[in-house]
Symmetry: C2
């Protein structure tokens, strides 16, 4: 029952009570919560009020609702640790990119589909690639799947001046991938920088990545620099935050 005189909104009291019972284990992972109509009786509030409480828990990622079945405590997703800062030349040459390497190591069937297009650099792209705004860039738009399930979106952009006439402008970049083509053209890779952030997904991303309510996405912008310090590629990646964790390693000195 909710305390009407406490000043705390009823739906917040209901949400807090349910939240506490979930974290305390009264409702275990995967278990079904009482139906909304039961909660109406339990707490003495109307159904919209109960629904508002449950919605709160949904946006927190604590529970998932399944139409016609019930509301369930979200089981903690198994998180894949993805080691970054390991794109050694060796690894690059052995594999067709970090994603496929990860996938192969984990034993599921990877597949990617690629679309190529060309566009003019906006301010952000221009800044990362150290080119003029409006300059032409080659865009490789990839959807990566594991066993058919979309697990990552990646948009790679390179100045067109260094991709013209190479297989980078083809869907199939050939053995070693785009990085190998760059090195053949004399753009020896010197270093990588990754900028990592997080935000809520757009509706498009949510449906593509099949994200439940309350699951953010991790955004990674990787910039590859040639030995001379000039950026040659930027790659915007979007990952489901309930399935991925990124690991970075570096020496103390």
């Amino acid at each position: 029952m909710v305390d009407r005189r406490s000043g705390v909104p009823a739906f917040r009291q209901v949400a807090a009570d349910l939240r506490e019972k979930i974290t305390a284990g009264t409702y275990a992972a995967g278990e079904q919560l009482p139906s909304e109509r039961d909660l109406v009786d339990t707490y003495g509030v109307s159904r919209p009020t109960v629904r508002e409480a449950v919605n709160m828990l949904r946006t927190e990622g604590l529970v998932v609702a399944e139409h016609g079945r019930g509301v369930f405590v979200r089981p903690p997703a198994s998180i894949q640790r993805v080691a970054r800062s390991r794109l050694s030349r060796e690894a690059r040459e052995r594999n067709r990119g970090a994603f496929l390497a990860d996938a192969a190591a984990r034993g599921f069937t990877p597949s990617t589909s690629v679309k190529i297009r060309f566009e003019e650099a906006d301010a952000r792209v221009a800044a990362h690639l150290a080119i003029d705004e409006g300059a032409e860039v080659t865009v490789r738009d990839r959807v990566m799947r594991a066993d058919g399930l979309v697990v990552q979106l990646a948009v790679s952009r390179l100045p067109r001046t260094i991709t013209r006439g190479t297989a980078i402008e083809d869907v199939n970049t050939g053995p070693g991938g785009a990085y190998a083509r760059l090195e053949e053209r004399g753009h020896q890779l010197g270093s990588f920088v990754e900028h990592v952030g997080a935000r809520m997904p757009t509706p498009d991303e949510a449906s593509l990545l099949q994200l439940a309510d309350g699951v953010p996405v991790i955004t990674v912008t990787r910039v590859a620099y040639a030995f001379d310090g000039l950026p040659v590629e930027m790659n915007d990646m979007v990952l489901a935050a309930d399935r991925y964790e990124l690991s970075y390693e570096w020496p103390a000195d």
Copy 2:
């Protein structure tokens, strides 16, 4: 007006229309949306339906509602880029930790409050620190502020076996911070690993970090390893995703 026969729920149509007008710039950043009662007239739906649409945009982080004022398009927050993988011994000795270094470089007044406690390692802590579950750990629980505003939560854990008798068990760790004390005791630092993820905040975190609806947190677990490969410290950090971006850098070879 919404299309009643399309099968798409009314509140989704309203949300989609508003979302599109926001991204298209019809409602610019910081600008006020029409009042809920105006939207009722515009779309021909009830107020709860309008509110559900607006709530959707709120959990997406697109708009913020201010009681008594109106609903506003969230202006893109200014994002701080925090360079990781730069905790060189030099930098550690010059400063009192990475956070204070960041703060000093940016010209705001930093402050932190620390609480010390001791606890038994749970499974996760034990795994990261390579100790037995139940072994005693020293916990340094920090709240970091910039100009009084909470910007980061950090919980540092070390095996008690290596902190006993050192200033690491005091609120004030002395010049150079906890890492300096570790090195004095012969635990020369060899490397760092950071595990980066994201999730929605708990209600506690949301109020502490003053997060608006629809803003996730970035979680960073940094593990410091001694030269002999043994972990000496783990640090769980929580950052507001709309204010921080982490940058990692590494050579291509």
